[in-house]
């Protein structure tokens, strides 16, 4: 089942998600990107119904771009979160989007912030959070190991510990993850954690040994 993890550090936020696209017992692909870069300084990690996930995140991304075209300034993270919640809430009692979202962004005046928005449009500002079966393992890990003002290395180390736990303890666990970071310099891919790859055999061993995490 899909896992999305988010952690806020000192002037940055980390959003990580698994990269498996699964249907019933079949893994279609192992490099599906579920953390969308909404604009230069926003990340939206989403989990849920695959069609809804892509549709909804693209819809939010395009509306964000439209706002920026019309008003020449980007929407703030808080406003984006409230807009996202509004769209989910409006659709909830007609044709709900089955998508859970962790939205993280960096604003010059506020710094880094992160919002938890579940599929029934419950909005809450958080410092750490997770969705999916992985959350049963990650949330308590984060409660124990998180502290405010972490550095990027410390935060990614925390995310790595969460990933390790998911791989170890979750039956039918997703193996590959993508970790993205948003800070004052923008939103980008920080790292990938891959155990298994569906790309050509030459590439696979190199990837597995170079980026697989160990204790």
């Amino acid at each position: 089942m899909e896992c999305v993890i988010g952690v806020v550090g000192r002037d940055f936020a980390v959003v990580a998600a698994d990269t498996s696209a699964v249907q019933s017992i079949l893994v279609h692909k192992t490099d599906e990107d579920k953390v969308m870069v909404l604009d230069s300084h926003k990340l939206m990690g989403a989990s849920g119904e695959p069609g809804d996930r892509v549709q909804f995140t693209e819809y939010i991304q395009k509306n964000l771009h439209l706002y920026q075209f019309r008003n020449t300034i980007p929407l703030s993270t808080a406003a984006t979160a409230n807009f996202t919640r509004g769209e989910l809430a409006t659709a909830l009692r007609r044709n709900p989007y089955m998508v859970n979202v962790i939205l993280a962004g960096y604003d010059k005046d506020v710094g880094a912030s992160m919002y938890y928005i579940d599929y029934i449009a419950t909005l809450h500002k958080i410092d750490k959070g997770a969705f999916g079966y992985g959350s049963y393992f990650c949330l308590s890990l984060m409660d124990k190991l998180y502290h405010p003002d972490m550095t990027v290395e410390e935060a990614v180390d925390l995310v790595d510990k969460c990933i390790k736990e998911i791989r170890l303890r979750l039956v039918v666990a997703p193996q590959n993850f993508v970790i993205k970071v948003v800070d004052k310099d923008g939103a980008k891919v920080y790292a990938r954690r891959e155990y298994i790859s569906d790309s050509p055999p030459d590439a696979a061993p190199a990837t597995a040994s170079a980026t697989a995490t160990e204790a």
Binding site: R85, A89, I120, T122, L123, H124, I126
Partner: protein, 174 residues
């Protein structure tokens, strides 16, 4: 599971002598999982009017936004704040419910039965602000400690003609 028990909540309000207090717990959960311990359930409409919304968190947020919208429109047209009785009529109309005007206290949420018992035994009429604060805090704490879906601290607001006092109270964090 009932939608009223999905997120977990506890809200209580009491009337004192020329003052009132409103309090809520701070837990936001998704069934058995706790998502946050600083969730806001008591919202300000204007300086002398607060509303506590228990139940499904998404609906509480939506309802709060709709109520603020309606109140701001009212302020623009009438150039004054809404009276609490008027606001209560607005809320009851939105919820299709008949409102009941209580003279002592009101309770709501997953811990409502415990809250009824605690308030009934601890409440007395015409309490001053300090005594009201103590009473409502103790009533809230005692009730949410017996309810697994609410708790993780409390948020208490005491309003008098001259000031508004907000406090966060610490309870069992479990």
């Amino acid at each position: 599971m009932s939608i009223f028990e999905y997120n977990g909540s506890a809200v209580v309000a009491m009337v004192g002598k020329n003052c009132f207090a409103i309090a809520s717990d701070r837990r936001l959960g998704v069934q058995l999982q706790t998502i946050g311990t600083d969730f806001q359930r008591v919202f300000k409409i204007h300086d002398k009017l607060y509303i506590g919304l228990s139940g499904l968190a998404t609906d509480a947020q939506t309802l709060y936004q709709r109520l603020v919208f309606r109140h701001k429109l009212y302020q623009l047209r009438e150039e004054r704040d809404m009276k609490p009785e008027t606001f209560a009529s607005l809320v009851s109309a939105l919820l299709y419910e008949k409102r009941e005007l209580a003279k002592d206290f009101v309770v709501s949420g997953t811990a409502s039965e415990s809250l009824y018992g605690a308030c009934e035994s601890m409440y007395k009429p015409d309490m001053g602000p300090e005594e009201l604060f103590e009473t409502i805090s103790q009533a809230l704490r005692a009730s949410v400690d017996r309810d697994c879906l609410s708790g993780w601290g409390g948020y208490v607001l005491v309003v008098t003609p001259t000031e508004v006092r907000e406090s966060v109270i610490k309870g069992r964090m479990d």
